[in-house]
């Protein structure tokens, strides 16, 4: 069930939320668990068994780890990690590994007979696997008590608003809210008009980003990225910038709907995006983009590898490993590995050349113009991130090569846009670009309102603004059964 479907908006969400507040608090966990199972089973019902396996393994692992000490404790954690990663590896990476090995073996002139198993990736597998893993690791580190009630633990892994595309929660936040004993918080929240309105506003902003911006941009992006050999530099650049906006609106739109739906019920999920395209460097970008994943990698991979408290070459190695794994986490394809590698490379180069850049900016007097320096840094960061998106979005390595080659070796001619307009209605392209520009201007403000960092205008203005947003969705939304990009991860 998609968040932007009739079934979710008109039936599932109002029904589950209504029952949530009507039921006695001690039964709410059961309602949410059943609703979450139903939500997940509307995609591919049988894949609930994979979730059940993950939940079962980590539930018992958590209890046993808590009861053990020393080597046995470590062994149990290793077993839990292997079981989780094993499921992920089989469903997500088997086909990829099989194809990659087959290519090498056939390239060497040998016969390769392992068949493609035709595995369909369960929706959101990477998200709930990482969420479940964070629980066993936190129990192992003695930061979290093991959960004794299977249903409550299952709800922690399956909580429907963030089940299929995050944010990847930590037990310290979500599990504690499910187990809340403080009246008025988490599972013990009462119906609060103000909080419900805040949640609905955030959901509305999420829908706007998804339906009005992301899905419109997708039409242009799909056209160009579907046949890159037909287009020149200008179309490819336009499509790439639009993809940068599309993926941000698609994913952060989903997150806003998830956070809003959870907030209506009294849960505070972690913030996942902070206007990332206003970052002044790549390091800052990763502090603002998919924060729940980057902090997961920081806590459970980068720091255990030694982080930056090691010699320089090892520090750079750690960074590169984290980003290559992050690339693979996103998708089982070399394009994602290159995307991750590019980001790792950007960070390492920034560290290597930092002293030189400092001297350079001082030398040309840019330090005396902080505002110009800031916007210049933002501009450069957006270019680097957008370039990397080419690999993320390209359908294959071959397509990515074609896109990069044509981006740099074909002339920037307006004729190229005419070619694009031959395939798309002019009004479609005009409106997409116009709405995207409007969005970029209003996003920081609406984002701050959604996160309650700035107060929404009082009186008539507040409702009027959100009414206009809803009317904008109704009139300018690009409707259809378009899925969310991050569901595939």
């Amino acid at each position: 069930m998609l968040f932007n479907s009739f079934e979710f908006i008109c039936i599932f969400f109002p029904l589950v939320t209504g029952l949530y507040f009507l039921l006695p608090q001690r039964w709410r966990w059961l309602l949410l668990l059943v609703a979450s199972c139903w939500f997940y089973m509307t995609f591919v019902p049988v894949y609930i068994l994979i979730l059940a396996f993950t939940i079962g393994v980590d539930y018992f692992a958590g209890i046993w780890i808590e009861q053990s000490e020393g080597r046995r404790r470590k062994l149990l954690l290793t077993a839990s990690i292997l079981a989780n990663v094993g499921v992920l590896a089989f469903f997500k990476y088997f086909n990829f590994l099989n194809e990659s090995i087959a290519e090498v073996v056939r390239g060497l002139g040998f016969h390769y007979g392992v068949p493609d198993l035709g595995i369909i990736l369960p929706i959101g597998l990477s998200f709930h696997t990482f969420q479940s893993l964070s629980y066993t690791i936190e129990v192992y580190r003695k930061h979290q008590a093991a959960e004794r009630r299977l249903g409550i633990f299952a709800l922690y892994v399956m909580f429907y608003p963030q089940l299929v595309a995050g944010p990847i929660e930590r037990p310290g936040n979500l599990l504690n809210q499910i187990n809340s004993t403080t009246p008025g918080t988490g599972m013990r929240a009462k119906f609060d008009y103000g909080r419900v309105v805040e949640g609905l506003r955030q959901m509305l902003w999420g829908f706007f980003k998804k339906v009005v911006i992301a899905d419109r941009c997708a039409v242009v992006v799909d056209q160009v990225y579907g046949a890159p050999e037909h287009y020149g530099a200008l179309s490819i650049a336009l499509a790439t910038y639009l993809f940068a906006v599309q993926i941000y609106c698609d994913f952060s739109g989903y997150t806003d709907i998830a956070l809003g739906a959870a907030r209506v019920m009294g849960f505070n999920l972690m913030v996942n995006f902070r206007t990332p395209y206003l970052s002044k460097n790549i390091s800052e970008f990763w502090g603002r983009w998919h924060i729940s994943l980057s902090s997961w990698f920081r806590d459970y991979l980068y720091i255990p590898l030694g982080g930056n408290r090691v010699v320089k070459w090892r520090w750079y190695y750690n960074l590169m490993i984290v980003f290559l794994v992050s690339g693979l986490w996103h998708g089982a394809d070399w394009t994602y590995v290159i995307w991750g590698g590019l980001h790792g490379g950007y960070l390492i180069l920034a560290l290597v050349f930092a002293p030189l850049m400092l001297r350079f900016t001082k030398g040309i007097g840019l330090d005396r113009l902080p505002s110009l320096k800031k916007w210049l840094n933002i501009f450069i960061t957006v270019q680097l991130v957008s370039f990397a998106w080419i690999f993320f979005r390209a359908n294959s390595i071959h397509d990515a090569n074609t896109l990069v080659h044509r981006l740099f070796y074909t002339p920037w001619a307006l004729d190229d846009l005419r070619m694009l307009l031959a395939d798309l209605p002019r009004s479609m392209l005009d409106l997409t670009v116009l709405l995207t520009l409007v969005f970029m201007v209003i996003d920081p403000l609406f984002d701050a309102w959604a996160k309650r960092e700035k107060p929404v205008p009082q009186g008539l203005l507040g409702p009027a603004i959100y009414a206009a947003l809803l009317v904008g969705i109704l009139l300018f939304g690009y409707f259809g059964s378009t899925s969310f990009i991050y569901f595939q991860f």
Binding site: F6, P463, A467, V471, I473
Partner: protein, 312 residues
Amino acid sequence: MGVRWGRVLLFASCVLGMYAFAMFGLSHAKLESRALIFRTGDYYNWPGGDSWTRFHEFDRAKRYDAIIIGSSHAYRGYDPEVFAAHGHHVYNLGSSAQSPLNTFHLIKNYVDSAHCPLLIFDVFEGTFQNTGLESCADLTQNITSGAAALGMAWDLRELRGLNMMALRWCTPGRRPYYESAYPVRNGFVAVPDSVDKPIKPLKNTKLDLLDRQKVFFKACVDLCRERGIPLVVVQHQARQGTNRVRHEAFAAYIRSALAGTDIPFLDFAFAPGLNDLDHFADHNHLNAAGARIFTGQLVDSLESLGYMNQSR
């Protein structure tokens, strides 16, 4: 509590007012002689063409010997002149991409047993595989019945349906923007084109009939039975390259849906008499020559089954 409901009401009024204002403005303000609303989405249709003529010429008070309904297969494949030659007066309410969802609302609002002693429902698998959006875009702007338009827009269960209806309400008394490319006779459109060279066979995609369209097909059947309208389900000839296995699967579904009723399914898909080059206008539509032959075969079949004999 009262203040809160007041706020909810205020918000709802704001949304309604802004929506009505914006929709009215966009459907009347023009850029390069085209209403701005048509630039905001690809699902708004211009009123006009054969659908406009068909539904505006249809006389609901008149008694016909039969009404034909269905997709473009219906309005391009069932020639009223052939019926007339056999002494039957028929009208064609077929329209582009008309799916069972759309057909249901047309039957509900345009067909009753007093004026239609026989309903001929052309079925084609493609119409069971789409949501009905395309037909809704066409019919909401072109049909005379507001109730039928509203019914199908509502049953789409998505916001595009609401927008299409809002456009209809914002432009009352609108005139057709364009004429049909071919003359419309009793709803029928004869296409003279022929296929002058073999067409590549269509890709054999999986037959994936939408559950929702199956529900509406069943609803059409039930509605006809409830209203006492005799119904015949028909499929006209398909080109030789058509996937027979796929067709058989579709035909089996239709037969199963009609099981337990006395409604016949006349499956002409691979009936002899037509050839791909001379009798088809494209992949799956009959041309004028094909329609004449097929309609002759259909009338013979109907008469042999005892239908339409009373009108002669």
